[in-house]
Every structure is written in structure tokens, then in C-alpha cells.
């Protein structure tokens, strides 16, 4: 039983799913979104909107959209308009349109049977439901890029041109696409792209002061008074800024630092707790461990990390890494080493615990070795290795 009081007042306010009522430094964008969708509160059946929100990780895209969604739903209800804001993370549904739409449908009709319908069929049912209930929907598609990747132009085109299939019927579904940048929209055909990109809200990275403001707001909500000194917030903001201005990272650091503080029965969260928190998030892998690898081992690891980053797969094969390694070697002006040598590198990295291997059962082509990255973020690894390789290149 813990006798020492906790530094937390309500740690759920640091949870990734918590949406604060105020969004420091995003009020302008929040007003902008409200403006874009204001017709929904005035002439809901006459218009449907398509807006894209872009911004790097931790720039508040999801929080902004969910806050906006919650506010507009309340306002619509107050005005007697039946409006649903449905937030779907496309990646959770492997970017499959029929699964995404099915999720949206079950928000309206929780008992609707889940079967393998075609996307068009689910869309039709969804619209039928909205028509019958005289309801409207803002469908927020988070990680929209994974839908584009999985389904390509046609699906997105159909989504953006819903009304053309429903002449003279009320407009029911507005779209809010959320993505890191517009790169993946390059894969769309011109007309879909132009329809989608007409209205884009771009969230810039937070600076140090903005991060400190955000963290201070959360501290006031989540921690007991006077338990988080100003320098701790400042240090956390610095670290979050180093992580490309990632507010989410800073908030998680605060939570972890609070946990370290509680574990040590401390009255306050100290900078040392933040430092411990950082090493618990980023590394399992120290810079010196990477330093100790030779140039080609580093290139090989970079190739592996690039593969994991690009494919988002948990496992890959040596031959895939070999291809990426060849590209990395070329980039750094090195002649690639032989396959046998790469196999040895894999063994070394596996012994060090940086990469891990798993041998699959007998297949048609015999046994094969799968490689995975156990506990380090691929993006972090790519970043660290690139810095190191550039330094050594000089």
C-alpha cells in the first residue's frame, strides 16, 4: 500500500485519448475548421464539405479534429440538427474502405451485422440510414494516407463524389481527412486530388514556447499544485522540441516522469525523472552501441530500419534488407559487401539485441529467416544512424 501521496491529481488528463477543452496555439485552426463546416449548422442538406488537415506527428491533428467534432455535434444538437461526428483511424482498419465505412455504420447502428460487404454496399446502407433518420455525418478519416495506399484513387474518388450518385437528395456525409502531409495524395488522379485539396488546414510544428504552454496546461489538469517545477516543464518542452515539436511525446514524458517521481516517493517531479523517462521511451539502445558498429554494419542496420519504416511490417527478410542496404551503400558512396558478410552482420546485430531473427517452419522453399526490430523505433534508428554515418563519412 502506498503511503506517500502521488504527484498526480488525475493522470487520465495525460492519456493519449484525452481531448482537452482548450487547445493552446490551435485556436485559430479550430475556428477555421468551424468556419469551413458552419453550413452544417445552417443549411445541412445543401452542402457537404471536404477538408484535409495536415501536420507532423504530435502537432495536434487528432486532438484538433476531435475537439472540433465534439463541439460541432453539441452545437448541432442544440439547434435540433441530427449530426454525428465519426472519427476513424484508417490504419486500424488496414486502410480498407469497407471496414472503415462499416465502423461508421456501427456508430449509427451498433447492432448492424458485421459481414464482408462491398464498400459500395456499406456506403449505400450508411446513406439510407442517414436519410431515414434525417441525420448528417462528418466522417473524420485519421491516417487518411493508409486508405489512399490500400484502396487507391477509385475509392477516394467515390467518397469525394458521393452526391453525384444521389441527384436531388440531401447531402449527408462530409469528409475530414487527417494526414501528416499531402505526399500520398500524389498517387490520386488529378480530379480526385483537386477535389480533395481545395481546403487544407496545415498545422505547423510547435516551437519551444508553444510546447511549454501546452505542457503547463496539462500539468495544471493532471498534477497536484506545485509538484511540477517550471524547469521540469521547460526541460520537457526542450526534449519535445528535439522530437520535431512533438507535443504528444512531451505529454507522455511528463506522465512517465510523474511515475518515476511516485516510485521514488518524491514530493516533486525532478529533471532526473524526466531524463529517466526519456531513456525509457527512446533507447533500449545507446548511441555508443551504434558507434561501436563498423561502417557497413551501420549501413546494414540503416537498410533494415528503412525497410521497417517504409513497409510498416513487423517482419522482413534478409534479402529485403540487402536491397535497402545496397541503396544505403550507394548513398554513402560505398561498395556493398557480399551476402555472406551481411549474414554475419545480422548475427552480430542479433547477438547485440538490436535486430532479432526468427526461423520459420519448413516451406516449399525450405526454412527462411525473418528479421524484426524488437524495441527501438525504426524512425529513431534511421535518424540516429544517418547522423552517425554522415559524421563518419567526413
Amino acid at each position: 500500500m502506498k503511503s506517500h501521496p502521488s504527484v498526480f491529481r488525475d493522470e487520465s488528463k495525460l492519456d493519449i485519448n484525452y481531448i482537452p477543452s482548450r487547445l493552446p496555439h490551435r485556436e485559430k485552426e479550430r475556428r477555421l475548421l468551424t468556419e469551413f463546416f458552419s453550413f452544417l449548422l445552417k443549411i445541412p442538406d445543401k452542402m457537404a464539405q471536404r477538408v484535409i488537415v495536415t501536420g507532423e506527428i504530435g502537432t495536434g491533428k487528432t486532438a484538433l479534429c476531435q475537439r472540433f467534432g465534439s463541439d460541432i455535434t453539441v452545437e448541432a444538437r442544440r439547434r435540433g440538427i441530427n449530426l454525428e461526428y465519426v472519427h476513424v483511424n484508417c490504419r486500424e482498419y488496414r486502410g480498407k474502405l469497407f471496414l472503415i465505412l462499416q465502423h461508421a455504420l456501427t456508430v449509427l447502428k451498433p447492432t448492424f451485422p458485421r459481414r464482408g460487404y462491398a464498400a459500395e454496399e456499406v456506403l449505400k446502407i450508411l446513406l439510407q440510414n442517414l436519410d431515414e433518420e434525417n441525420a448528417y455525418m462528418i466522417l473524420a478519416l485519421d491516417e487518411f494516407d493508409s486508405l489512399i495506399e490500400a484502396e487507391g484513387s477509385d475509392a477516394v474518388y467515390n467518397l469525394t463524389r458521393l452526391q453525384e450518385m444521389r441527384q436531388n437528395k440531401p447531402q449527408r456525409i462530409s469528409l475530414l481527412g487527417i494526414m501528416r502531409n499531402l505526399d500520398s495524395t500524389k498517387r490520386l488522379d488529378e480530379s480526385t486530388k483537386s477535389t480533395l485539396q481545395r481546403t487544407v488546414v496545415r498545422l505547423e510544428r510547435y516551437g519551444k514556447t508553444q510546447l511549454a504552454d501546452i505542457l503547463n496546461e496539462r500539468v495544471a489538469l493532471a498534477f497536484e499544485p506545485f509538484t511540477v517545477p517550471e524547469d521540469v516543464v521547460s526541460l520537457t518542452a526542450d526534449l519535445a522540441q528535439d522530437e520535431s515539436g512533438n507535443a504528444r511525446f512531451g505529454i507522455e514524458l511528463l506522465w512517465r516522469a510523474g511515475k518515476y517521481s511516485d516510485a521514488e516517493d518524491s514530493d516533486k517531479v525532478l529533471p532526473e525523472h524526466v531524463r529517466k523517462a526519456v531513456s525509457s521511451i527512446i533507447p533500449t539502445l545507446s548511441k555508443s552501441e551504434l558507434d561501436d558498429l563498423n561502417f557497413h554494419e551501420q549501413l546494414f542496420l540503416l537498410g533494415a530500419a528503412e525497410v521497417f519504416l517504409e513497409t510498416s511490417e513487423a517482419y522482413t527478410t534478409l534479402s529485403e534488407i540487402e536491397k535497402a542496404y545496397a541503396v544505403a551503400s550507394e548513398e554513402f558512396g560505398e561498395k556493398p559487401v557480399s551476402h555472406t558478410q551481411l549474414w554475419k552482420y545480422l548475427q552480430t546485430l542479433s547477438v547485440l539485441g538490436i535486430l532479432k531473427t526468427e526461423v520459420t517452419g519448413e516451406g516449399a522453399r525450405g526454412r527462411s529467416t525473418l528479421v524484426y526490430l524488437p524495441s527501438v523505433s525504426a524512425a529513431e534508428l534511421v535518424k540516429a544512424l544517418r547522423e552517425l554515418l554522415r559524421k563518419e563519412e567526413r
Binding site: 447502428k109 447492432t111 448492424f112 451485422p113 454496399e121 446502407i125 440510414n129
Partner: protein, 102 residues
């Protein structure tokens, strides 16, 4: 030709269906039959009867047929209310017994 009140309500499966639909809102036949533990065709027969009496209403979404309380009939309104009041009162009674035991 409509059935007598006692004939409609004398069936245990029909009462189970009404309780289920009152609780969950709108369900398809397979879901109802699974939840009340009866086969598809028997469940379907009961549902048709309740629909013919104007208590339930069927809606079709593509290949899916879903049943819910009829939105237009007065009968449906009172039956739904009866089931809801009955269930809520039983729940209260159960909670009371739980408190006494503590």
C-alpha cells in the same frame, strides 16, 4: 385477422424477442435467433407474427433485414413501454436485494 392479446403474449420466445428488441433497438433475424437460442425459421415466424400485429417493423438494408419496434403503431408504443417499465422495475428490485445482502 388480428390475434387476441393473450395469444400474442402467451409465447415465451415472442416475449424474449420483444425484450431483446426493446433493449438493443434494431436487430437482424440471425442475431435475434442466436441471442434467444432458437433456430432461424422459428424466430422468423415469430417475427412475422409480431410484424403482422403491427408491433415490430421490418427495414431492409441491401441484403439485410432488421427488425425494430414499429414507429407508427400505437400498439407498438405501449408494448415497448410495457417491456421497458417491466424490465426497469425488475432491475431496481434486484439492485435493492443486492444492497440488503451487503
Amino acid at each position: 385477422m388480428h390475434m387476441e392479446l393473450e395469444d400474442v403474449f402467451s409465447s415465451k420466445p415472442r416475449m424474449k424477442i420483444l425484450k431483446l428488441v426493446a433493449r438493443l433497438g434494431e436487430l437482424n433475424i440471425s442475431d435475434i435467433s442466436r441471442r434467444i437460442g432458437l433456430n432461424f425459421s422459428t424466430t422468423s415466424r415469430h417475427l412475422q407474427l409480431l410484424e403482422a400485429e403491427g408491433i415490430l417493423q421490418q427495414r431492409t438494408y441491401g441484403r439485410i433485414r432488421m427488425y425494430r419496434f414499429s414507429q407508427v403503431s400505437a400498439k407498438s408504443k405501449v408494448v415497448k413501454e410495457l417491456v421497458e417499465v417491466w424490465e426497469a422495475s425488475n432491475k431496481k428490485e434486484l439492485a435493492g436485494i443486492g444492497r440488503e445482502k451487503k
